[in-house]
Structure formats: C-alpha cells, structure tokens
C-alpha cells in the first residue's frame, strides 16, 4: 500500500471515528444517566445535517452559524422530546421507552424521506480543495471534521467536570445515592437529553459538507454507534471515545479490501473483543441495569 493511500484511509477512519465518538458519547450518556436506549439518536444527527443544509445552502448563511443553529435546535428538540414523551414512558419500563424512541425515529426518518426523497442534499465544502505534502493529499474538508470533532469532545470533557456534568455521572452510577446527595434526577434527565441530542446535531452539522445530508444517514450512523458502544463498553464514555476511532479506522481499512463486507469484519472484531474484554475496552464501564 502506498503511503498516500494509507494516509487517505487513515484520515477517512479518523473522520468517521470522530463522528462516531460524538454520536456514541451522546448515546452512552443518555443510556447511562436516564437509562433510555435512544433509538432515535441517529435521527438527531440527520436533522443536524439537514439544518446545516438549510442554513448554508438555502439561507446562504455562514457555515459556523449553521453548526451553532444545528446544535441549539437539536438541544431544544431533545428537551422537547424528553418532556413530551420520554418523561411519561419512563415509569412503564425500559422497553416501553425504547420502543417509543423507535417510533420517534421512524417518524423523523419517514418525514425526511417524504420531504427530500432519497436524494442527497449537497452542501458546499467549507474549505475547498486539498493540501499536499509530498505525494500525499489531504482533503481540507475531512480535516475540518476531525478538528471539529476534537474541539467538541474536549468541550464535553470539561463539561463533565462541571457540577452538572458530575451530577450526570453520579446519577448514572447510582441514582438513589445521587439523589441523597441532593441531585435532582428530573433536572438531570432533560439536561442529559439536551447534551446527548446536541452532540448528534453537531456531528451531523460537521459531516454535512463531506457526506451531504440524506434521509437514511440516521439509521446508518446508529448501526455503527451500536458497534462502538459494544466495543467501548456500555456506559463508559472514554471507552466510547477510543472505540469510536478504532471502529472508524478498522471500517475504513476493511472497506478498502472487502468493500461492503467490512461490516462482517467489524462484527468479527467486535465479537473477539467482547470475548476477551467483556467490560468493553477501558475496563470497568459505568453500571447499567441488566448485567
């Protein structure tokens, strides 16, 4: 393999990994704190991409603004979904809430399909063109995605150290004891939904110039996120981070060799990993009921 190809594949992998990290972190957060298996996670990502398309391509506003709009819109939507729907199904059971998110995801995906069809909505690249070092070409667009993802992950890291973030982690570990410490679980829930969905919106906004916005991108990213969360450990955010980049890179390189079958390769990789490290990559994940 030439150096050029290797770098290309690596960049593709890192880009995918960055996006997976954002979406998976959001998913893991919601799963760990509220104990909700958010099937609609991918749909927030898709909406983020479509909002970006709307802001940039239709309204003609700058891309940075689009990212902000997508982020805020998804935060608001996440909170609305929490208060309108999830709040009511939580007492029923884990499965009821999960099914509700499935239904929600279907509504969003189907609405997108009806509005836009299967056609991809193209957004012009933020920075056109490529950089070249020697005979290796870097696509600026992809590098921006990676940079953006890193920026957001770092912000998330510091957010987790704030009082609210720590409260979220505490609730995730043991809700009863957390509430004994004065943590208001209900407030934590909607904040968690806000953060989890906001992350996805931002991810969608970041990837939009590279991948375009399509109605099915939500399901695709969700499927990949499952792999990431499996590998990283259900509930471990740092695990999700490492796993995301790992899965992204493996997927990228595997695609080069086996094309569509790379899903099976990743699956085999995941199976082997779970076999040897049941707790996910980084050891002890945050406890999730059902173990």
């Amino acid at each position: 393999m030439t150096g050029g190809l290797f770098v290309q594949l690596l960049i593709n992998g890192l880009m995918a990994g960055g996006i997976y990290a954002l979406v998976s972190s959001g998913f893991t957060l919601i799963l760990g704190v509220i104990k909700v298996f958010n099937f609609a996670q991918g749909q927030f990502y898709m909406l983020g991409a479509f909002i970006t398309y709307g802001v940039v391509s239709i309204l003609g506003l700058p891309y940075l603004l689009a990212i902000l709009v997508a982020l805020i819109a998804m935060v608001i939507l996440g909170v609305i979904v929490h208060f309108a729907i999830i709040q009511w199904t939580l007492p029923s059971s884990f499965f009821h809430t999960m099914l509700v998110t499935v239904a929600l995801g279907t509504i969003i995906t189907q609405s997108a399909l009806l509005s836009f069809g299967f056609k991809e909505q193209v957004i012009p690249a933020v920075v056109q063109g490529h950089a070249t070092i020697g005979d290796i070409t870097f696509s600026w667009g992809k590098l921006i995605v990676i940079a953006g993802a890193i920026v957001i992950m770092v912000t998330l890291y510091y957010f987790m150290k704030t009082k609210t973030g720590t409260a979220m982690l505490a609730s995730s570990e043991n809700r009863e004891v957390a509430s004994l410490q004065g943590i208001n679980a209900s407030r934590i829930f909607w904040v968690t939904m806000a953060v989890g969905c906001g992350l996805c919106g931002a991810a969608g906004a970041l990837i939009a110039p590279v991948l375009s916005a399509s109605s099915t991108m939500g399901t695709t990213i969700f499927n990949r996120s499952m792999l990431v969360v499996l590998v990283g450990g259900t509930g471990s955010m740092s695990g999700a981070l490492v796993a995301a980049f790992l899965v992204g890179i493996v997927e990228s390189f595997a695609y080069q060799y086996v094309g569509q079958l790379n899903l099976l390769v990743i699956f085999g990789f995941v199976a082997v990993l779970i076999f040897f490290r049941p707790g996910g990559l980084l050891g002890k994940p945050l406890p999730i009921p059902g173990q």
Binding site: I85, M98, L99, V102, I107, E176, N223, V229, A271, G290
Partner: protein, 328 residues
C-alpha cells in the same frame, strides 16, 4: 370467568379459525397468513424477553430458516418438510456459536449484539452469490404432501395455523415446566435467581436457542407462501418492529400478546387505507400514544388491574423521581 363460558369461548374461537377462509375474502386471508408469521416472530421475542433479554436478531434467524428451506428445496430438491428441522438445527447451532459470547455478558451487551447480528446476517444474505445476492433466491417450488400441493391460500392458512398452534403449545408447555419457572426467576431478578442456584447463563442460552429453532420454522413457513427469500426482509427494521407487536399487544401476555399485537398492527393500517408513504408515520404516532396511555398493551384493557390512564398519571406525578422498571 366461569369455566363454562371459557369453554364456549374457546369453542367459538376454534370454529371461527377453521371456518375463516370461508368468511373472509382472499386478500384479507393473505394478510392473516402474514400475521401468522409475524405472530410467531412476536412469540419468539416475548419468549426471550421472559428471561430479561430483548432480542433484536429475530429477523436474522427468521432469515436462516427461510434461506435454508429456499436453498435446499431449489438446489437439492429436498422436501419442504425435511428442510424444517434442518433449518431449525442450523439456526440453533449457529446461535449457540454466536451467543456463547454475548449471553454471559448481560442484557445490554446481548441487546446490542443482537442488533449488530441482524445487520451482519442481512449483509451476509445479500453478499453471498450462492444465496442469490441482493435480489434474493430464485422462486422455489411449493410444499407438497404426496400428490397434494399447497397452492391456495386456505391451504397455506391451515398450514400456518398448524405451525402457530404447535409453537404456542410448545411454549405453553415450557412456560409451565420446571425450566419455565427457572426462566421466571431469572426474569424477575437475576441476582436472586443465581443466589438460589439457577445457572442463569445456561437457562438463558437454552431459551434463546429454543427461540431460534421456532424462528427458523417461521422462516420456512414464510417462504412456503412467499416462494422467495430476499435479504431486505431479514434486516434490523423487521426485527425491531417485532417488539412493537409484543408491547402493543401487552408485554405481560407472553402467548396472546404478540398475536393480538401482530393482528392490530397488520390489520389496522389496511382498514384505515393509509397511503404507503404516510403509513409508517401514522403507525408510529399511534404506537407512541398506545405506549404512553396504555403501557400494558391492548390486552391490558381487559385486565381489571389496569388503572385508567389519568389515575396512572397522578400516581406517576407522586413517584416522578423513582427508578423506571428496568429488568434486573
């Protein structure tokens, strides 16, 4: 309910079921046939849910049965009836191989593993040329017994009914046996069950594998009337929809819930005459409403223990900060 009324009701049900092909038009009968298949899938989901494991690989094993029957009938000219146990056994063996990794790791891992499995299997069905690729298998011959061929809908309906009843009987017997009691204990509380000496992993594995067998049978039946196996059918989407049947029907009703749920979800959109584009949206909205207002499902209405929804909401407000009922 007095026993006499129960017997009469059962009698009426039997007569209805036997006479059904005469009572409804062929189009409706076709929907009933599909519903039978979906009911069997739903039974499989509820079966494994009983031990606290939500499985999202239903369509994958359904596909294993379907493809086994399709390929063996086509390429090896095998009798349909022989492919049934073969499909079942393949499903069990493959399941044993794959789930040995997932089941010991707990519910969450099993859940996601199932989803990934569904995706991977669908990819497998589509990518391998021997299976016919993404276009699916060639049309297969119809099942026969001696010189009698199962061509018409009533014949296929009775065949399906037989499979469904077999499935129900076996599951009912299992639920009421020693193994069923072990499953109950696992479903209630893993810690308590294992402290009492129940080998959680072994019993869960047994449950999943038995489920696999009957899912494969459902797959074989499916191709008996659809006469072709296409990868698109056996993916994650159909696996997740099965959960909808179970919860809409009633999550507490392991045997009747999935059947009622399948009937409702399959028939109601037909009678509302929804356009193909809007149907998923309406179904999803209705599902959300059902789950929020009737968490015990449609069958839950019949249960006198169910409080009306407004009373429940008041109760909920009192307990807003309590932990949701997550199976242990």
């Amino acid at each position: 309910m007095p026993k006499v009324i129960k017997i009469i009701a059962l009698g009426v049900l039997v007569i209805l079921l036997v006479a059904l092909p005469r009572l409804i038009n062929p189009y409706a009968l076709q929907i009933v046939i599909s519903t039978i298949t979906y009911s069997m899938l739903g039974l499989g989901f509820a079966f494994t849910l009983k031990v606290g494991l939500p499985r999202f690989d239903i369509a994958a094993w359904w596909g294993v049965g379907a493809y086994t029957t399709a390929l063996l009938m086509q390429k090896a000219n095998m009798s349909f009836w022989l492919t049934l146990p073969i499909g079942g056994i393949i499903s069990v063996l493959l399941g044993w191989l794959v789930f040995s990794i997932a089941i010991p790791r707990g519910m969450m891992v099993f859940l996601m593993f199932g989803m990934v499995l569904a995706l991977a299997m669908q990819q497998l069905f589509g990518s391998v040329e021997f299976f016919g690729g993404w276009g699916g298998t060639d049309t297969l011959p119809q099942p026969t017994i001696g010189s009698f061929t199962f061509t018409h809908k009533p014949e296929l309906y009775y065949m399906g009914l037989a499979f469904l009843i077999l499935n129900l009987l076996v599951y009912y017997a299992l639920y009421n046996s020693k193994i069923g009691r072990a499953w109950n204990s696992i479903g209630s509380s893993i810690k308590l069950a294992s402290s009492l000496g129940v080998d959680v992993v072994k019993y869960r594995m047994a449950n999943v594998l038995i489920g696999n067998f009957f899912l494969a049978i459902a797959g074989s039946y499916f191709v008996a009337y659809s006469l072709v196996a296409v990868p698109d059918t056996f993916g994650l989407a159909n696996s997740v929809i099965v959960m909808m049947y179970v919860i809409v029907g009633g999550i507490a009703y392991n045997l009747s819930g999935p059947i009622v749920g399948a009937l409702i979800i399959t028939f109601v959109p037909q009678y509302l005459r929804l356009t193909k584009e809007y149907e998923p949206i309406i179904t999803s909205v209705v599902t959300i409403l059902l789950i929020v207002l009737l968490p015990m499902g449609i069958l839950g209405i019949l249960d006198r223990r169910t409080k009306p929804w407004f009373a429940r909401m008041k109760w909920f407000k009192k307990n807003k900060d309590s932990e949701p009922k997550v199976p242990a």
